[in-house]
């Protein structure tokens, strides 16, 4: 038996409530300092985010209002069906997203390392980290869900109590899947540390397959049967899984439907409100129950899991990929070898950063899935062409988020390693060119293939396919030029976090310029086909400028303008970036 020493008279172990108050104070200070910092240093970004969120919210509200008006006229059960499917899929997404966020904050962050060396309870640390990850994982749900639910309330002429209950319903619902995700994460880190990636992938694949199967069966049945009563019955039976009475998503949708119900008299209205409150109580009590389980799990397994994750052994790199790198380094002339070496270095960094390639894979994968299903719908020729241009814009917008998030910070991230590059026999221009080539080649291959897939599924004419591919090429060049050029003009060599670099002024500017460029490109090539064709049809017989613009010469002019502007957008930022980067003192 070893004697223990008393602690210094000025220190003491805190009671759970006192510990919770300390963490609350910490969170409040962090939020206050972040808001203050944003108001002082990132006003443009804050204003843009607020404005875009408001526009997004209003657009969603409009879409949902129209959709509910249409769906409400179809069948009384359709809205309940939609709510259940929507909230059930959201529930699954929240489980995964909160699990991933919990892993990042509780096992790999420096804050976790600090907190675990303080006399804090494991469950208090879990509670603190959980609130943080809950906020990050659920703000999207509030942004997406609130316009939908407000539109539903307006359509149903719900009383004020419905709107008051919205937020409590949403929060109490979100807590359940988010806690389940965190519990799974803590359990996997502690008891399946070596297999956690496999377990995660298997779970994700199972949920993804179920979602794809459900989506596929719905799309196929619309394509073959149309929106008939038989289709509706079949759909209801297919989605019966999401209407299980033990699912929190069912409690949420039932509670909201009851809250929005307008009774024929006061007694009926009261009965509906009481039913709604019962569902809210069900959500709150279950939320509290899973929180208790989560805290218990953290007490039992958090420190053990942290030790297991921290003490992991590294994995050897994949040899076939290394051979691919060797091949890439050795093809071509010796004069261009430094650029190829830098390209291979960036390729390796990309491959080893799960955050980068997984986001690219998920977004492009989802797009591919959507494009594959385009052939199941029946459109007329005008719609096919319009959807083709919209798909071009979507591909461009997704690529612009990647170039802003991953390519723009690349020059800044060389900051800490600048001395290595400075000592190598590599001209600074070659560094900038290698980033441009990396972004351009990395973007043009998947984007042009995706567009080709979209156009083939839409059964679009060959001439339009060629135009789309030219636009895609120009977009990839322009977006890469903007991201690399602005990144070289406004590098932040002290910052190590790519997310922070991308969210600064330069990153925001890059995103805004990229979005304007995409809108310009798509509008200019879409105009001759859609607007001018319509105007030409309405114009009196004889010579009309619209007729010329809608013809092959008009189209050729539009493509010419896009190519010329694309070249300017590519090379002006690049030239300015090269000049700034040559003069940079690291």
């Amino acid at each position: 038996m070893v004697a223990s020493f008393p602690a210094s008279g000025d220190t003491q172990l805190l009671a759970p409530d006192a510990e919770a108050r300390v963490f609350l104070r910490l969170r409040t200070t962090l939020v206050w300092q972040t808001v203050r910092w944003m108001c002082q240093h990132a006003r443009l970004r804050l204003s843009l985010v607020t404005l875009l969120s408001a526009v997004f919210w209003a657009s969603l509200y409009g879409i949902f209002y129209e959709a509910f008006t249409f769906v409400d006229s179809l069948h009384a059960d359709v809205i309940s069906l939609l709510f259940n499917a929507f909230f059930a899929s959201l529930m699954v997404m929240l489980v995964f997203s909160n699990g991933i966020l919990t892993y990042g904050s509780m096992y790999t962050s420096t804050q976790a390392k600090l907190l675990l060396t303080l006399p804090a309870r494991s469950e208090s640390i879990f509670g603190h980290m959980f609130r943080e990850s809950l906020w990050f994982s659920s703000w999207g749900f509030v942004l997406l869900g609130s316009p939908m639910l407000v539109a539903y309330g307006v359509i149903r002429e719900a009383s004020w109590t419905y709107y008051v209950l919205l937020l409590p319903f949403m929060i109490s619902f979100v807590v359940i899947p988010a806690t389940v995700g965190s519990i799974c994460c803590v359990a996997m880190a502690a008891w399946l540390p070596r297999m956690r990636m496999y377990a995660f992938v298997i779970l994700l694949a199972a949920c993804g397959s179920t979602a794809i199967w459900l989506g596929w069966s719905l799309i196929r049945s619309v394509g073959t049967e149309g929106l008939t009563a038989t289709w509706l019955e079949k759909t209801i039976s297919n989605l019966a899984l999401t209407e299980h009475k033990l699912l929190p998503s069912w409690w949420l949708s039932s509670g909201l439907i009851e809250a929005a119900r307008k009774g024929s008299d006061a007694a009926n209205a009261w009965a509906s409100l009481l039913d709604s409150l019962k569902f809210l109580a069900l959500l709150v009590s279950n939320g509290l129950l899973v929180q208790v389980v989560g805290l218990w799990m953290a007490r039992v397994a958090y420190r053990l899991g942290y030790s297991e994750v921290t003490g992991e052994v590294s994995v050897r790199r994949n040899r076939p990929l290394s051979r691919f790198d060797d091949f890439l380094m050795n093809i071509g002339s010796r004069r261009r070898r430094p650029v190829r070496l830098l390209l291979v270095k960036d390729l390796r960094v990309f491959r080893r950063d799960i955050a980068q390639w997984s986001q690219v894979a998920i977004f492009f994968g989802l797009l591919a899935l959507y494009f594959l299903n385009l052939s199941h719908f029946n459109y007329n020729m005008t719609y096919r062409s319009l959807i083709g241009f919209l798909n071009l814009a979507v591909v461009g917008l997704i690529l612009s988020t990647f170039t802003t998030r991953f390519v723009f910070p690349m020059i800044s991230l060389e900051g800490r390693r600048f001395w290595i590059l400075g000592l190598l026999p590599v001209h600074r221009d070659q560094i900038v060119w290698s980033k441009f080539l990396f972004s351009f080649i990395g973007g043009v291959v998947p984007c042009s293939l995706l567009l080709l897939m979209s156009d083939l599924m839409l059964d679009i004419s060959m001439s339009l396919i060629v135009i789309h591919e030219i636009c895609c090429l120009i977009l990839c060049m322009g977006l890469s030029g903007i991201a690399v050029g602005l990144g070289a003009m406004m590098p932040d060599l002290q910052e190590t976090s790519p997310a922070k670099i991308a969210s600064g002024f330069g990153g925001t500017l890059s995103l805004v310029v990229s979005s304007l460029f995409i809108i310009f490109t798509v509008t200019v090539v879409a105009l001759p086909i859609h607007v001018f064709t319509t105007l030409a049809a309405m114009a009196p017989p004889g010579l009309s400028p619209f007729r010329w613009a809608a013809g092959p010469w008009g189209m050729a002019t539009a493509v010419g303008v896009v190519v010329a502007v694309g070249l300017l957008v590519t090379f002006i930022p690049l030239v300015l970036g090269l000049r700034a980067f040559r003069q940079l003192e690291a």
Binding site: V2, A3, S4, F5, A7, S8, D10, T11, Q12, L13, L14, A18, E19, V22, R25, L26, T29, L30, Q33, T34, W37, T110, Q111, K113, L114, L116, T117, L118, P119, A120, R121, R303, L304, Y306, S307, T310, G311, E312, V313, S314, V315, R316
Partner: protein
Amino acid sequence: MIEFDHVSRSYGSKRAVDDLSLAVLRGELFALLGPNGAGKTTTIKMLVGLLRASHGAIRVCGHDMSRSPREAHLHLGYVPDEPCLYDKLTGREFLWFIADMFGMPRHVTQRRIADEIEHFELFEFVDDLTERYSLGMKQRLVFAAALLHDPSVLVLDEPMVGLDPRSVRIVKDLLHEKTRQGMTIFMSTHTLAMAEEMADRIGVMVRGHLRFLGTVGELREQMAIENTSLEQLYLQLTAVLPESEGSSPAHERG
């Protein structure tokens, strides 16, 4: 004050720390030396509760680190190799948070924070967000935070990294004063001169084994080499065959 009782830790098939038994007494400054991959950082991480020992027990002031970590942490101050701070807190807010976590009364916290700001000369930047600090400024703040609650045991992992010569002097003087007052200090370092200058005892780890434990004088005696520098003694002691092929721990640095 610090006790390692037959402690081992493995990473996969590799044993990073092998059957370590060691006791560090009150008021003693102990320096752990060793080449890269010797097991120093693993030992420190186990001592502060970030890693669990595969076998054996670690006690801080009599409290078992794996069974009652909170009680053990109450006696412990830790300066990691890389400063762990909240970017969006000022230095002063960070010190208040640490004091609150140790349950210190407000009037004591105010006095101690003022003292630490003076000791580590933080007054010029203590009210700025820590994201703007240089590595040296961060390290000074972490030192202040580790000493704020006047711990019985201070654990330092490569403590002088990033500090300028003046700050190094301040830290060395402070560590001497603290050990005179009875604080136990456990430090890992690559700097032999610092170990020679400051440590009461040193331990030399090689491939997870504690190859030597004693004073620098005893090391010289044991190696039976006259007029030889500590550096030469150290190099002889740590001379090992090249690492055999196999996986290496992802986070093992020291």
